[in-house]
Symmetry: C2
Subunit: 383 residues, 2 copies
């Protein structure tokens, strides 16, 4: 059993704990990106990413954050003046809509109450009333509220009732929940390295459907660094358009070893299990989850109104040695978010729960009488 | 003395060999970017980068390649229709001009013959004839031809004869040659992590002058991921606009230790020394350098017309274990480029030269009679 001493525990919804294999890969001596050696690594990543994205389409890697990838999805398939429907259910939905407005797309919004899942019926109605939409954009998991959306049904709705492209921010979705890009008819998917891939921040991965690649051809939004066509052309020669993020792509190659074959399902199941066990664990102890449609990648717990939630989160980090996510805007100080992505071993999670318990006991969120260790061991046994 | 066995030697103009300290930092356990711990690291980087850039202005860090940073420089200070003068003396100048055209700036070019330095007098003439230029863009070192441009004089010329902003790609310039941003009146500088900073690819660092920040306010080119104003606002709270590249920024913090105080000058002197010794070394042996204005960051050697230069470079890599830069376009197969950036110890350089010598002897570029080891030791003794 691994012990952690005063080592900090990271249980946020990204960045996430890294595996030893990834850390080792990050520290390898530098090699040049215009070499056969690197081309083989890149090719290995590009091929295996198709499996992770469940697509026959090329998957591209950009040297950017996930948000950069979200921008790339928009600007490669849309043109100024195009109408976009943004499904907004939290901070990341808001940001994507803001991004779309920046590039002069006309943004309409389907505002989903925070913590609730988008409803295919409501989407259907909006699409029927607005045949002019060129794209529908939304999150697979809205990380800020720990909410999972019914992407399969939403994709079906877009396909049946609109000519719009359906673009999804799957940054905390890929590898954490089933997402069948081709089969479900999703037109654009973006993922981020610092989530289920268990890597540092710094790579966005994206794929476009055939229809989206058609739209690329007529898109007039100016782009260069994020021009996916240029990147695709370079990828077809097993290289990247710009200098490659050698260090991160080499680590990606290692990380992808755990996604081949049944590995993808195992990654998803692990997230789902951690999420379920976490919900049950804290509900048994009297807490409630914020979201009515809990995500597998992150769980948001409501904090009692009697405590200073911002201080609680800050104390968790500095006094108890465990970093979680907090709430933003209307949720500031009201929730804490426990991430289920990354190299979360049972030992690490046990230690994380112990520290959270200690803080919750000290803050009076839990009674001092509860047998923390018994509750924790009982939950970990289910993993 | 370090021995290298069959370990590959990287002597390209970026990416470059990394120090052990940087490799160790890259392999540190992940921490969250929204923590006091990371904010302190970021702040330490942002403050010390001002010294490296020789500016009182804020220096910003983007999670992108250097080319992404070059795009950011343009789109933050220009608007569609603005006229730009691109000083072009090689591949990177061409690419920057192409980038500018993509964003609907009207690009005029000052085409400098490859391998030659831009002439302030010619620039002056162009500026006098074209008072409408909003920006002049150019490379400090044109890496593709290993050519250094007289940036101080060019900056002075722009200031005296134009209202244009002077934006420089200093990706192989910062830390490799003196570049006094504020004192020389440069309006925009971009650097890249995989050069003199001795880091992996993945971070661009930029600074704007007061005038450039004024231009930012009226720039209408749409931008979000590369919006420097948004990044600056986040930096003022010791955080980044998007998720931070924790791994690379933590490594940057370590790398910057060698730039404080006289470290910046030492970095520049080391590059200049390596470049001078390299030129003299190969000239003594009968080779010539390509550039008439040799850069300190990289040296381009002309290859004899009798050999297949592409095969030679490829063989160097696969058979002799040393990766150099090659020539592009009109220079394809005609030059090899030896980089002087990164953690190039005397031991590493000795081994690199030995491998280059062996290849050059086998290819008949050098006579079999020359005493390679004596030549190499004599050159290394000057470092």
């Amino acid at each position: 059993m691994q012990t952690f001493g005063d080592q900090p525990i990271l249980l946020a919804p990204g960045p996430v704990p890294l595996s030893q294999e990834v850390l080792t890969a990050l520290a390898l001596p530098m090699i040049h990106h215009r070499t056969d050696e690197f081309s083989q690594i890149l090719e290995s990543c590009l091929q295996r990413l198709k499996w992770v994205f469940q697509t026959e389409q090329p998957v591209l890697i950009l040297p950017s954050t996930g948000s950069g990838g979200m921008e790339a999805l928009l600007i490669n398939v849309l043109s100024p003046g195009d109408e976009v429907l943004a499904i907004i259910s939290g901070k990341f939905g808001e940001r994507w809509a803001e991004m779309a407005e920046t590039f002069d797309y006309k943004v309409s919004t389907y505002n989903v109450p925070w913590g609730e899942a988008a409803e295919p019926k409501k989407l259907e109605q909006l699409l029927k009333e607005n045949p002019q939409f060129k794209a529908v954009i939304g999150q697979v998991c809205e990380t800020s509220t720990a909410t999972l959306h019914p992407i399969k049904q939403l994709a079906q709705t877009v396909q049946q009732h609109s000519k719009a492209l359906f673009l999804v921010d799957a940054i905390t979705g890929v590898g954490a929940t089933q997402l069948l890009m081709d089969q479900w008819g999703i037109d654009g998917v973006v993922a981020g390295s610092q989530k289920a891939f268990k890597l540092p921040t710094g790579l966005a991965m994206l794929a476009l459907s055939d229809r989206a690649w058609q739209a690329y051809k007529t898109s007039t939004t100016p782009k260069f660094a994020f021009d996916l066509g240029k990147e695709l052309k370079a990828n077809q020669k097993s290289t990247t358009f710009f200098s490659s993020s050698v260090t991160l792509i080499r680590a990606l190659d290692v990380a992808l070893n755990s996604f081949v074959g049944d590995g993808l399902n195992q990654s998803i199941q692990r997230c789902e299990q951690l999420a379920k066990v976490t919900r049950e664990h804290f509900e048994t102890l009297g807490l409630t989850t914020y979201s009515k449609s809990s995500a597998p990648s992150v769980t948001a717990l409501n904090l009692p109104e009697t405590i200073d939630g911002k201080k609680f989160k800050s104390d968790l980090e500095t006094k108890y040695g465990v970093t979680l996510g907090g709430g933003q805007d209307q949720l500031a100080g009201k929730i804490i978010r426990i991430g289920h992505l990354g190299e979360i071993t049972n030992d690490l999670y046990t230690e994380g729960l112990r520290r959270i318990h200690q803080a919750m006991r000290d803050y009076g969120i839990f009674s001092k009488d509860i047998d923390s260790e018994r509750h924790i061991q009982s939950s970990i046994a289910k993993l």
